[in-house]
Symmetry: C2
Subunit: 191 residues, 2 copies
DNA sequence: ATTTCGAACCGGTCCGTCTCGGTTCGTTTT
DNA sequence: AAAACGAACCGAGACGGACCGGTTCGAAAT
């Protein structure tokens, strides 16, 4: 008793790719504020309706473009010790953030998440919380191995890590580099 | 050789107050996205030009409204010990954040700071860095007293504190309450 | 047959600038 | 002292431009 599905024209993968790469290019040229659906449509050679049909907002287009462009796989490394695991996790997570354009997009998406509640929910559950949980798994494993003292509250380590990273990105604008990895590892894996 | 002072009508303090309180009221009713210069002008009974003459953007109006409404004095308490000082600093800093409307405005301003570069510079230097420096003074005093081990990098403590706070506000949306104060104090004043 | 596609076209909102007549000052002249 | 003057302000609103979100169209693909 499945629904009667009448076949129709399939979604154009070509248009999808064109839209995503046009969005990624444009945001690097004109910034997030200067980015518009109309601009994406014009650059990609598609129509506005094609974009509105598949994405709720320009922020969602950018989020998918970010996920498509770079590999957003979240690693949970097992190097044998907590400091090594943490270092490997951070190094893999920062691979993206080396490019200023990616940081620019991340800042814009975090900003949009504050202004647009619906996108905020998608951004939190689909992006932020995934990373938080991945780091949580890593920490929990170290804890059962006895590499780490018990947590005052579940998720404290992850909140400290991502808090410091996002504060750098959003507020102080210091670069995301190897020195930050060293600092985080020494702060959280020493005591 | 002082500046040549041209006579003219003085700035209306009445209009300034009306604009600030109208902005504060409106942002609580329609949210930051729904807030507009035209709306502020209409609600305050002033003209758009009067607003554009004195503030570069609606975010600047809100920032001044926030500073005017609540006392934004940044305390540097001296309770005799580092944990007590830190606790007093956090308690005073969080006094504002108890109201959800204030949090809403802070989130919007941080978002705007990411999108509007000129306002971002003002927000960082005039708001964020002031708090960072205040906490830095407090930490440095504790360090010279020997209450705290030397810092791997200047400002590490402040970055951890404000990173965790802002990450809560922007990402996890957990409340800013006394439990957070306890957590921060035990995390940073114990080791 | 059904759905997607590119394209064109609205109605509406807000921005940022500008203009207008009128008001409040400090300065200058009488 | 009193009046005239000019500068910067005031509220109100018109204006062009940009963009949004949605609709409709014929053509194309399956």
């Amino acid at each position: 008793m499945g629904p009667v599905i009448r076949p129709g024209r399939k979604r154009s993968e070509e248009s999808r790719q064109a839209i995503l790469s046009a969005a990624a290019d444009l945001v690097g040229e004109v910034g997030y504020a200067g980015l518009s659906i109309e601009g994406i449509a014009a650059r990609s050679g598609t129509g506005k309706q094609t974009i509105y049909r598949w994405w709720p907002s320009k922020a969602d287009v950018l989020l998918e473009a970010l996920a498509a462009k770079a590999d957003l796989h979240i690693p949970i490394p097992d190097e044998g010790s907590y400091p090594a695991d943490l270092r490997a996790f951070l190094a893999a997570s920062f691979a993206l953030g080396r490019k200023p354009q990616v940081i620019e997009v991340l800042r814009a998406l975090m900003a949009e998440a504050q202004i647009n509640p619906a996108f905020g929910e998608r951004f939190r559950t689909g992006f932020l919380e995934r990373r938080r949980e991945a780091l949580g798994v890593l920490v929990e494993r170290a804890r059962t191995r006895g590499d780490l003292p018990p947590d005052p509250r579940p998720g404290t380590v992850a909140d400290l890590v991502f808090g410091l990273i996002w504060y750098r990105v959003l507020a102080t604008r210091e670069p995301i580099d190897d020195a930050l990895i060293d600092e985080l590892v020494s702060l959280l894996a020493a005591g």
